[in-house]
Symmetry: C2
Subunit: 205 residues, 2 copies
């Protein structure tokens, strides 16, 4: 037979959990807007910004949505991963970046590449079938002022109500964060580079 103090502990645990569940249920019930395309931002110096965006692409494809992807950087993802996502559904994928500016060392070329990528993004935003648009590394193009921030913000905030957009890249502009519905900062707590371990194939590229 259970000792009385064990019963007491189980009762207290149950009461605490019931209280927590009530708080959470009330919070969920208070949300009244049932659908609105979100503007999401993944920023910070940590890992996972693009990886989580591609996880969202996977989830959206799982819902049978059409998805657009524009990469403003060269894209660390090999064509293999792109092929896999395209195999799963309707993905319109465009890798239009020329690489980061410290690789190319040519500002005019960087600006032209960013413009091409942004024009493609605008085109995809006009496609009413697309329900999720991933703008990978757009934050980098904005940070280096390869695109006019005001123009980008006007298009993003004026988007269709059912279009979800996820923007990735470190150093997100504060003005973009102000317009966004959901902003996550990926913070690097610890990195194996510090221990002399190279970037890992299969994990980082």
């Amino acid at each position: 037979m259970a000792e009385p103090n064990e019963d007491e502990e189980a009762r207290r645990h149950r009461e605490k959990m019931e209280k927590r569940k009530a708080v959470q249920d009330a919070e969920v019930a208070s949300k009244t807007i049932t659908r609105k395309g979100l503007l999401m931002v993944h920023t910070g110096a940590g890992k996972g910004k693009s990886t989580a965006a591609f996880g969202l692409v996977l989830r959206a494809l799982g819902h049978g949505w059409k998805v657009g992807v524009v990469q403003f950087g060269k894209g660390q993802w090999r064509s293999g991963e792109r092929d896999m996502l395209e195999k799963l559904g309707n993905v319109s994928w465009h890798t239009l970046g020329e690489g980061f500016t410290w690789e190319t060392q040519d500002r005019a070329r960087d600006e032209a590449a960013a413009r091409r990528a942004w024009d493609k993004a605008l085109e995809l935003m006009d496609d009413p079938e697309i329900r999720l648009l991933a703008l990978d590394e757009l934050n980098i193009a904005l940070r280096y002022e390869h695109l006019p921030l005001a123009e980008v913000l006007a298009a993003l905030t004026g988007r269709r109500d059912d279009l979800n957009v996820v923007v990735t890249g470190r150093n997100a502009k504060p003005e973009l964060i102000a317009c966004a519905d959901l902003v996550t900062e990926m913070t690097l707590v610890k990195h194996h580079f510090a221990a002399g371990v190279k970037a890992q194939e299969g994990i980082e590229f």
Copy 2:
């Protein structure tokens, strides 16, 4: 013709970028350990912890790896997404959690579920074909002490050298962080729940 001060600006830009590239190239060259399975942790109160882990699964499948997934929570991911990942490759997927303790309000049941999930994780760690193992929401089970921390850490740190593991869930134990190669904290900067917007199908579940 370009004005002299524009030439000067372009030259300064190029020099700055060349310097940055040299620093980065030197940093990459300093990494000497070429392969070692990583222990990765995605923690923090922000979004994207599990989503980024499933993005890693996608990437690993793109490399033709066999992947194991154990969900210690109920898993917000619908079976549709699981089916999609399984379509892409060799995934051994196990959703063994019973839901969070504030849902079940039964500690003995939570502990039994965590044990079942952990036993499956150990089994998958023994499969030499598996190169990536995702332990989704393991941090929650450790936080509520549904599993003995010392046992889990011993198994994770004693894993095969070529096995990558990613552990997700908020409130990662400091002892786990100490053992990990790569730790990312997903920090919530801004959330649409605060504006009364409900969880979005296709994005959050």
